[in-house]
Symmetry: C2
Amino acid sequence: MKNKDRLIFVTNDDGYQAKGFEAALEVAREFGRVLAVAPATAQSGKSQAITMYDPLFLDKQRSEERLDVYSFSGTPVDCVKVTFDHLIGEQKVDLVISGINHGSNAATNVLYSGTMGAAIEGSFYGVPSVGLSLTSHDADADFEAAKEYARRIIASLLEHESEEQNRGICLNVNVPDIATEEIRGMRLCRQCRGIWQDDFFRHEDPRGRTYFWLSGGFSNYEPDAEDTDEWALKNGYVSIVPVQIDLTDYNRMAYLQDVLKQ
Amino acid sequence: MKNKDRLIFVTNDDGYQAKGFEAALEVAREFGRVLAVAPATAQSGKSQAITMYDPLFLDKQRSEERLDVYSFSGTPVDCVKVTFDHLIGEQKVDLVISGINHGSNAATNVLYSGTMGAAIEGSFYGVPSVGLSLTSHDADADFEAAKEYARRIIASLLEHESEEQNRGICLNVNVPDIATEEIRGMRLCRQCRGIWQDDFFRHEDPRGRTYFWLSGGFSNYEPDAEDTDEWALKNGYVSIVPVQIDLTDYNRMAYLQDVLKQ
């Protein structure tokens, strides 16, 4: 398909005003006409959440040549849903880009990530979906390397867009926060095992009520395994993990058959 | 382990005042001392979301013999985190129960479900975790069958609690909304493929602004496959799907290696 015929959908979880979102729009525009619907406010950590109890508002933020940007008052997944189920009508989306996130979504983060929640949701609709993240939380982070690798990965995916295996493919791409020329390349990885070791910041509000505020850091269960996304990032590579949504634990089926037999 | 020595953690996503939560507490108390921390408000559809931008408040709601119930102002996953990382101190939790949810969490619902988000989070801590759901959204639903099957499943799991494969096991259990005697038994299943076909309810608010409100229903991609949770529920069985959290799509690794090679 030619770039002029393609429709690219862009969303994120940091909200439509984030620098990383502009970076994603810039890359997306190189590949087609762009429709962007991003959360009105920061939605990090929202996972695959949907908004069930509140009405949601859609506002057009800007319109340029082959680019329309909306904000939506819900979660990243809500943004995907309102786009596919309402905004596009009979049009077909050819690629979903979610990001570029300010902060890593490697390893177990994929489960909490609103960026990846949206990418996964895009893949439900059968569209190739790429979640992009940079390992820096800085609001003014440098997205040059992330943009460059996003371009390469998207170009490769789109070269194969007519293939059956491309349908609904979903990638979790993380880019280390180093200069483009320091990056050693891309690595296809598996999701690293580990856990967020949480540490609640605990304090008293102005009225003397104790509150908790989530903090913490990632604890890697397998720091020496060289095929994980965490290893790739630590060693200067862009990590690419293909993601799927069947959570069935097939490996424990036989065990459970035995456990539940009595 | 004896029931008197066990610590059972209970949470849900419908909030600490839901009828299904009481049903879960009742079952949990048969197996050990119970510590329950549930959302202060309804948190359906919250998936694995964590609260990053707001302080959270923990309130003791009641205390009885071998039972403590708290509400927490965050998501189901926040409830798990504050319990394991703060409340229990040096104690060890022996089982996590999340539910009993008002509404099905079978098939693709597992990805949006706050009930299952909490169960999955429990399994991160290495604790056997059971998410329980009844296929009725009625606030006053009849939980008798769900309690009965929850008892059987938990008893079986705990009989094997010292086994290595039991560690961090996570089950997505759904119970059809029919009388206990009509249930044909339990079936170990895989997650059914399908998608939520969304339909946005669209209206104007009192000030003339258009709002969207998510609705829709599940569309089953494989209604004839007899090994899925959807099939089990439709045919009068309790469905049990073991759940794991490595989202890596190993099946597409070779394909992607080829795509990204250029």
